[in-house]
């Protein structure tokens, strides 16, 4: 079962990217406290993203003719791993680099690729994903935002919600209904690139339980778009979204969301001279190592040109489970020593990760949906 999902190695040639990333990270991130760095891929810093683009560290999987580096998924893994390990603020370019550019490359026209991908590679075109709606969460067939054809192109009406980084983004790739109704399920869905500065777009931030406002509601009131806003084929939006989600679910960001907390805790144990929790440290270290090997194995399937939907679901489900376990067991360990002082920074980091952790298994597909995908891959149903 899943016979090609086996140990793979990062090519030596891609390891040389680490020094370059470290150099940039040291200049932009070193001074940030752990509770800021723990925000990692929700931390927004457009200057940092542009600096990465200028250094050739974005668009690593994309063709050179569109400003990419043409180095492949392993190179991207190395760069992303370095950024997440350091807790660098990567939100600005994250979605564009990870999934919007590959989507445009795979399904868009050469003109669309020419218009958007070079800007993405420079860290200058920021994208968000318009999938969820008030009535369509896990069940995206329930999408009701509509795009009607006009003489000049499209007119869009409807609403998206929980749209990460939409407030700071330039464009949204939205899943909309271009024909039929929710009763038609996945038929009649299409993907459009929406310029978020177009008249009729209203973005209302939603503050989350940590006090951040990384996601928002986005309203479309007769938003007029040119005909070439359509990405790929009309009516094929669902198939394109499934391919896109394999990119979203397979990366190392699905194992490292709590790694800043893990490192802060280990530093605390070392400073306190405490060794009574070596077993827990070892258990968590082994799981991180196994997840890293699984994530590299999944990256190898991407590098082989596959769309590893089931493999990515396996890594994401197990990875987010680990990310959520960390604040739970680290909180227990620290509070099991109530007479041992914990720094304000570590305490804030612990509570930030504790509070945001439920989102890890919601964003990009819930645990229950992923397990349904894995079950289908096993031949069940």
């Amino acid at each position: 079962m899943f016979d090609t999902f086996t140990l793979a190695r990062l090519p030596e040639a891609d390891e040389d990217l680490r020094a370059q990333v470290r150099d940039l990270v040291a200049r932009h991130v070193a001074g940030l406290p752990a509770d800021r760095r723990a925000r990692s891929w929700q931390g927004f810093d457009a200057d940092f993203s542009r600096a990465l683009g200028a250094a050739g560290l974005l668009g690593l999987t994309l063709p050179k003719r569109y400003g990419g580096q043409e180095r492949g998924p392993f190179a991207r893994f190395v760069v992303v791993e370095e950024l997440l390990s350091a807790g660098a603020p990567v939100a600005a370019h994250w979605i564009a680099d990870r999934q919007s550019a590959p989507l445009i490359l795979n399904f868009g026209t050469p003109e669309q690729a020419e218009r958007y991908i070079p800007a993405i590679c420079r860290g200058e075109a920021l994208f968000c994903i318009g999938m969820s709606e008030p009535g369509a969460g896990s069940d995206l067939a329930g999408v009701r935002t509509r795009a009607e054809r006009t003489e000049k192109g499209w007119v869009v009406n409807g609403q998206k919600i929980w749209t990460t980084n939409s407030l700071h983004s330039d464009f949204m790739i939205a899943l909309v209904r271009t024909s039929g109704s929710p009763e038609d399920r996945h038929a009649g869905l299409s993907q459009l690139i929406i310029d978020l500065k177009a008249p009729g777009v209203t973005i209302r931030p939603i503050v989350d339980l940590t006090g951040d406002a990384h996601f928002a509601e986005v309203f479309f009131d007769n938003v007029e778009l040119a005909a070439d806003a359509l990405i790929g084929e009309e009516g094929q939006g669902w198939r394109q979204v499934v391919a896109e989600l394999a990119f979203e679910r397979s990366g190392p960001e699905r194992i490292y969301s709590s790694v800043v907390l893990l490192d802060a805790w280990i530093a605390h144990l070392q400073a306190a001279g405490r060794r009574d929790c070596a077993g827990l440290v070892g258990q968590l270290t082994a799981e991180l190592a196994t997840l890293r090997a699984m994530s590299i194995a999944c990256t190898a399937r991407l590098a082989a040109g596959e769309s590893p939907v089931v493999e990515a679901s396996i890594v994401k489900d197990r990875g987010t489970g680990f990310e959520q376990l960390l604040p739970q067991v680290i909180g227990d360990d620290l509070a099991a020593h109530p007479d041992e002082p914990v720094s304000a920074e570590l305490y804030r980091t612990l509570l930030y990760v504790t509070h945001i952790a439920p989102s890890f298994s919601l964003r990009g597909g819930t645990r229950e949906i992923l397990r349904g995908i894995i079950a289908r891959g096993m031949g069940l149903r």
Partner: protein, 312 residues
């Protein structure tokens, strides 16, 4: 690699007689066939008359043994014969187990010899009179005296070597347990439909698949280096495999219901084997303490430490 695995898997299917061995039948004919196949010297250097393969190359063979829940110490004998060849000690003809501590050694009742890690280093020990059955129903494990006399051997990380083999065996058993459970869930009908259509079952089976894949990849990580099996990678392999083993056995039984408990159903061959391998050569708790102590000795970030120590 299929050139290696396919004939080996055929050989295992030809010789396997687990129930007969557990009932006390000898394994001499099976062992003769395995010896004739030449696989036992897979890890012995070519200059010493072996195939000169690495542990990573025979990893699929170890999984094939695990998938059949074979108690014969074939993988252990491959490692033992490589250690003996390096030491210039003639290998005995029979099966050899690796005894890395005081815990009962799986398959020891089928073995003629053991490499024993005693207080004064490694020794090759002939097992006549040196082993004590456990009394567990069907078990071919036995305790081997740590001070048993034998031929002294040069130092080697015996427990880590044994641990990565256990992880590979667990990975093989995990694959078979997951397949059997998915098949059963697709065919067993209750409430008018296959039980595999119940979301509760699908959720449990998908977690089994995750544990199976994690164990496979962690075991491959543990077996990546040879002959210098690295302690942090071995620890990672055994921690992941042993922790998953208990969950996999529990879930497989939960899916199968009462029939899986019946002795005549093959499920228990796999679940008894996977529990024995989980507990042998250090459980997840033992290796977690080892790995954690090593990790706490470094002030590197976790990703850097893993890259240097586990993925070296």
């Amino acid at each position: 690699m299929d050139d290696l695995l396919e004939p080996f898997a055929r050989l295992l299917d030809d010789v396997a007689a687990v129930r007969a061995w557990e009932a006390g039948a000898p394994c001499d004919d099976a062992w003769a066939a395995i010896t004739d196949s030449g696989f036992l010297d897979a890890l012995v250097a070519e200059a010493q008359g072996g195939a000169g393969l690495t542990l990573a190359q025979i990893e699929p063979l170890v999984r094939a043994i695990g998938a059949r829940a074979l108690p014969l110490p074939i993988a252990e004998t491959m490692v033992a014969r490589a250690l003996l060849a390096d030491a210039g000690v003639a290998a005995p003809a029979g099966p050899i187990v690796l005894a890395s501590g005081a815990w009962p050694v799986p398959g020891a009742l089928l073995a003629s010899h053991a490499i024993v890690a005693g207080t004064e280093g490694l020794r090759l020990v002939a097992l006549d009179g040196q082993r004590e059955p456990t009394g567990v129903h069907g078990s071919l494990a036995a305790r081997i005296a740590a001070d048993a006399p034998g031929v002294a051997l040069p130092p080697a990380p015996l427990r880590a070597m044994a641990a990565v083999l256990r992880a590979g065996l667990i990975a093989g058993a995990a694959e078979r347990l997951t397949e059997l459970s998915a098949d059963y869930a697709n065919t067993r009908v209750q409430f008018g439909k296959p039980i595999g259509r119940q979301q509760a079952l699908q959720q449990m089976l998908s977690v089994m698949a995750e544990d199976m894949i994690a164990t496979r990849i962690a075991a491959q990580l543990g077996m990546a280096a040879w002959p210098d099996v690295a302690i942090p990678a071995a620890a990672t392999a055994k921690i992941t495999a042993s922790a998953a083993a208990a969950r996999l056995a529990a879930s497989a039984h939960a899916v199968h219901g009462a029939i899986g408990i019946a002795e005549e159903h093959d499920l228990n061959l796999l679940t008894r084997a996977i529990h024995a391998w989980r507990l042998a050569d250090g459980s997840e708790g033992y290796w977690s303490a080892q790995l954690g102590a090593a990790r706490l000795g470094s002030n590197q970030a976790s990703v850097d430490w893993l890259r240097g120590e586990v993925f070296a």
